[in-house]
C-alpha cells in the first residue's frame, strides 16, 4: 500500500490524467467489444477525435484563462455568436469565407478584450465579469435571432467533414492551436508572466510584472478560440445557431475538462497537455456511452460523477505530497510571533 502511494506521488498530474485516459480506453474497448462492436475501427476513432475538437478549442483557451487566475463563463455565447456571424456573412458564397472568418475572430477578440479589461482594470472577479458579458451577449442573441440563420458554402463545410485518414481536419487545427498555446506558455515572456500572475498576483506585481497584460492576453485568446469553435460548428451544421453554444454547456464542461487535466482552479499551475487529456477522456466517455446506447440523461449523471471522482484523486494526492514548510519544533521562533512595530499615523 505504501509503495503504491509512493508510486502515485512520483507521477506528475499530467501523467495521472493520461493514466486515467488509458484506463478509460481499456474499459471502453472491453465494454464496446462486449456488445460486438469495435472500439478501434477507423470510423469510431474518427468520431472520438471529432468529439474532441469543439471542446478542445474552448478548453485550450479556458486553460490559459484559469492559469491566469480568472475564469471564462462567456464562451458558449461567444461560440453561438461566432457561428451566427460566420454563417450570416458567408451567406452561401465561397468568396466571403475569408472575410467572414476574419470578422468572426475579430469580434471574438473584441469580446475577449472586454472580458480582460473588466477583470484586470475594473478588478471584477472573473466569474462575475464573464458571467455578465455572457449574459449581455445572450440577451442580444435571444432578442435578434429566433432560429438558425445564414448558410455556409460547401467549401467551408468540407473543413468540418473531411480528414486525413481517421483524423479529422478540425482536430488537426485544434492540435495546432494547442501547440501554439504551449509555445506561448513555455517560450514567451507573456507565458511565464501568466503563470506568475496566476500563482500570486501580489507577488507578481511586486516583482515588476505588468499584471494586466497576461490576464488580458489570456482572455483575448480564450474568446478567439471560442470563436474558432463557433466557426467549426457553423461548418458542421451548415448554418449559424443562437443556442449551439449554450446547449453544449461548453462553459462548465470546458472548466471541468481543464480541472480534470490537472490544472489548479485557483490558477498558476497546470498544462495544456493535461487539458487535452481531460478533453480526450470526455470524448471517449461520450463515445462509449453513445455506442452502448446509454440514456442521454444518464450520460450527464456519469459525467458529473466522473468529474468529481477524477478531481478527488488529484486533490487527495496534493494534500499528501505537500511538504511541511517549517519543522514543528521551530514554530515558536518564527518571525510572526515577534511583536510587529507599530507604524506612525
Amino acid at each position: 500500500m505504501n509503495q503504491r502511494a509512493g508510486f502515485f506521488q512520483r507521477l506528475s498530474s499530467t501523467q495521472i490524467v493520461y493514466l486515467v485516459a488509458l484506463v478509460t480506453l481499456i474499459l471502453g474497448a472491453l465494454l464496446v467489444n462486449s456488445i460486438g462492436r469495435s472500439f478501434f475501427s477507423p470510423g469510431n476513432i474518427s468520431s472520438i477525435l471529432t468529439g474532441t475538437s469543439v471542446l478542445g478549442f474552448i478548453a485550450i483557451g479556458q486553460t490559459l484563462v484559469i492559469l491566469a487566475g480568472s475564469l471564462d463563463l462567456s464562451v458558449p455565447y461567444v461560440t453561438s455568436l461566432a457561428s451566427l456571424i460566420a454563417a450570416g456573412v458567408m451567406a452561401n458564397n465561397p468568396n466571403n469565407v475569408l472575410s467572414a472568418v476574419l470578422l468572426t475572430l475579430g469580434t471574438a477578440a473584441v469580446i475577449g478584450l472586454a472580458n480582460g479589461l473588466i477583470v484586470a482594470r475594473l478588478n471584477v472577479h472573473g466569474f462575475i465579469a464573464t458571467l455578465g458579458v455572457g449574459l449581455i451577449i445572450s440577451g442580444y442573441l435571444a432578442t435578434n435571432f429566433k432560429g438558425s440563420f445564414g448558410e455556409t458554402p460547401l467549401a467551408f463545410r468540407m473543413v468540418g467533414a473531411t480528414g486525413l485518414g481517421p483524423v479529422p481536419i478540425s482536430t488537426i487545427i485544434m492540435l495546432a492551436c494547442a501547440g501554439l498555446a504551449m509555445l506561448l506558455l513555455h517560450r514567451t515572456r507573456v507565458g511565464h508572466h501568466l503563470y506568475a500572475v496566476g500563482g500570486d498576483i501580489a507577488v507578481a506585481r511586486t516583482s515588476g510584472i505588468r499584471v494586466d497584460v497576461p490576464v488580458i492576453t489570456a482572455h483575448v485568446i480564450c474568446s478567439v478560440l471560442a470563436g474558432m469553435a463557433g466557426l467549426l460548428l457553423a461548418s458542421r451544421l451548415g448554418v449559424g445557431s443562437p443556442t449551439v453554444g449554450s446547449q453544449g454547456g461548453y462553459d462548465l464542461l470546458s472548466i471541468a475538462a481543464v480541472v480534470l487535466g490537472g490544472t489548479l482552479l485557483s490558477g498558476g499551475k497546470g498544462t495544456i497537455t493535461g487539458t487535452l487529456g481531460g478533453v480526450l477522456i470526455f470524448a471517449m466517455l461520450d463515445n462509449i456511452m453513445s455506442v452502448m446506447q446509454v440514456n442521454p440523461f444518464l450520460k450527464d449523471v456519469v459525467r458529473g460523477v466522473v468529474i468529481v471522482l477524477a478531481v478527488a484523486v488529484y486533490a487527495r494526492r496534493r494534500i499528501v505530497s505537500r511538504p511541511e514548510r517549517f519543522p514543528a519544533k521551530g514554530s515558536a521562533e518564527t518571525p510572526a510571533a515577534q511583536p510587529v512595530p507599530v507604524e506612525g499615523p
Binding site: N123, H125, L131, V308
Partner: protein
C-alpha cells in the same frame, strides 16, 4: 469588579463610537448598504411609472413573488461568505419540484411525509457537497458542478424530461396561498411569512458564534483552523443550509410555476447574481445576509421596472449581465477606497481613548474574564 470594568469599557466604547447618523451614512456607503439605497430607488421609480404598484396589496404580492429567489439568495450567501460556490442549487430546486409532483400527486395525506422527505433530501445533497469539498479537498466549483449535472440527469431520466401532473392543492397552497382578509394588505401570502422567518433566522444565525465563525472561515480558512474552528464542519453546514433553502424555494415554486423539469434552471446563477449585487464578495469573508436578500429584491424590481418601461423580455439577460458587472466594479472600488484608508476620524482628538483598560487583579491582561 467585573461589572465595574464592563461599564467603564462600555463608556469608553460609547465615547469612541460615531454618532448614529454617521454610522448609518458609513453603512450606506459600503456595497452591502448601497444595495438598500438602490432597492429604494428602483421601487420609487416603479411607483412613479405605475402608481398602482405602490398599493399595499399589490406590493405584498410582489414580495411574495420574489420570495423564492430571495430565499435561494440567502442560502447561497452562507456558501459564498464561507468562501465557496454552490452551482447545484438550480438542480436541487428542479429535483424538489419533480419529487413533489411525482410523490404527492392528488393525495392530501402524503403532503407531510413528502415534505419531510424533501427536506431530508435537501440536507443530504448539501451534506454530500460539503463533505466532498472539505474532506476530499475538491474545489466546490467542481463538486457542485458535478452534483448539478448528476442530479439534473437523474431527475430527467426519472421523468423522461416531460412535465408532470401537479401535486395536491393543499401542497400548492404553500406557494400560492396566504392569510386572507388582512386589513390594509388584503392578503399576506405564505411565501412572505416564510421569507421573513428565513431572513430573521439567517440574521440571528450570523450574529451567533456559528455566523462569526463562518465569516472567519471564509476570510482565512487557515487562520480559522489555527484558532480552533472545525473548518470542514462549518463549511459543510453552510452547504446544507444552501441546499435546504433551495428546497424551500422549490416548495414555493411548485405553487407558482407548477411541476416542470425547466423550473429552477439557471437558479444558481440568479442567486449568485443577487448575492453579489448585495455587496457580498466572492471568495468569502465579507458581506451581510440581509444585503443578499435585498440584492434579490433589487434584481427582481429591476426586471419589473424594465417590464413597465416596455422593454422586451429577451433583454432581461443583457440587463442582468450589465448590472452585475457595474455593481461589482463599483463595490471593488469602494473596498479599495476603504483600504487606502480615509481613517482620519480614528486619529481625531475627541476619538482618542480616554483611558486604557486596566488589568484586573489576578490576570495578566486587561479585559473581562469569561
Amino acid at each position: 469588579m467585573s461589572t465595574a470594568l464592563n461599564s467603564e469599557r462600555s463608556a469608553i466604547l460609547k465615547q469612541n463610537r460615531a454618532s448614529r447618523s454617521e454610522r448609518l451614512l458609513r453603512a450606506v456607503r459600503t456595497p452591502g448598504g448601497a444595495v438598500f439605497v438602490l432597492l429604494i430607488g428602483l421601487l420609487a421609480a416603479i411607483i412613479v411609472l405605475n402608481p398602482s404598484f405602490g398599493e399595499p396589496s399589490s406590493f405584498i404580492r410582489f414580495v411574495g413573488r420574489t420570495a423564492p429567489i430571495a430565499i435561494a439568495a440567502i442560502g447561497q450567501y452562507f456558501v459564498i461568505v464561507g468562501g465557496e460556490f454552490d452551482l447545484s442549487m438550480g438542480s436541487v430546486v428542479t429535483m424538489q419540484v419533480i419529487v413533489a409532483g411525482n410523490l404527492i400527486r392528488q393525495d392530501d395525506s402524503k403532503v407531510i411525509p413528502v415534505l419531510v422527505l424533501m427536506l431530508v433530501l435537501g440536507a443530504f445533497v448539501g451534506l454530500v457537497n460539503g463533505l466532498i469539498t472539505t474532506l476530499l479537498q475538491v474545489p466546490s466549483f467542481i463538486v457542485t458542478l458535478g452534483m448539478m449535472l448528476a442530479l439534473l440527469g437523474l431527475v430527467l431520466y426519472w421523468t423522461g424530461g416531460a412535465a408532470q401532473g401537479n401535486p395536491a392543492d393543499s401542497f400548492r397552497q404553500i406557494g400560492r396561498g396566504g392569510i386572507q382578509d388582512v386589513p390594509v394588505l388584503d392578503v399576506i401570502p405564505y411565501p412572505v411569512i416564510i421569507l421573513t422567518a428565513v431572513a430573521v433566522a439567517g440574521f440571528v444565525l450570523m450574529r451567533r458564534p456559528y455566523g462569526r465563525m463562518l465569516i472567519a472561515v471564509g476570510d482565512n480558512p487557515e487562520a480559522a483552523a489555527l484558532a480552533g474552528s472545525r473548518v470542514w464542519w462549518v463549511r459543510t453546514r453552510a452547504f446544507m443550509m444552501s441546499s435546504l433553502s433551495a428546497t424551500v424555494a422549490g416548495i414555493l415554486l411548485v405553487g407558482y410555476a407548477g411541476v416542470h423539469p425547466s423550473v429552477g434552471r439557471g437558479y444558481e446563477f440568479t442567486a449568485i447574481t443577487a448575492v453579489v449585487l448585495g455587496g457580498v464578495v466572492l471568495g468569502g469573508g465579507r458581506g451581510w445576509v440581509l444585503s443578499a436578500a435585498a440584492g434579490a429584491f433589487a434584481l427582481e424590481s429591476l426586471f419589473t421596472l424594465l417590464n413597465f418601461m416596455g422593454l422586451q423580455a429577451t433583454w432581461r439577460d443583457t440587463v442582468q449581465g450589465a448590472i452585475i458587472i457595474i455593481a461589482v466594479a463599483a463595490a471593488s472600488r469602494s473596498w479599495q477606497r476603504k483600504r487606502k484608508g480615509a481613517s482620519s476620524a480614528a486619529h481625531d482628538e475627541q476619538h482618542q481613548l480616554a483611558a486604557a483598560p486596566t488589568p484586573a487583579e489576578g490576570t495578566e491582561q486587561g479585559g473581562e474574564r469569561v
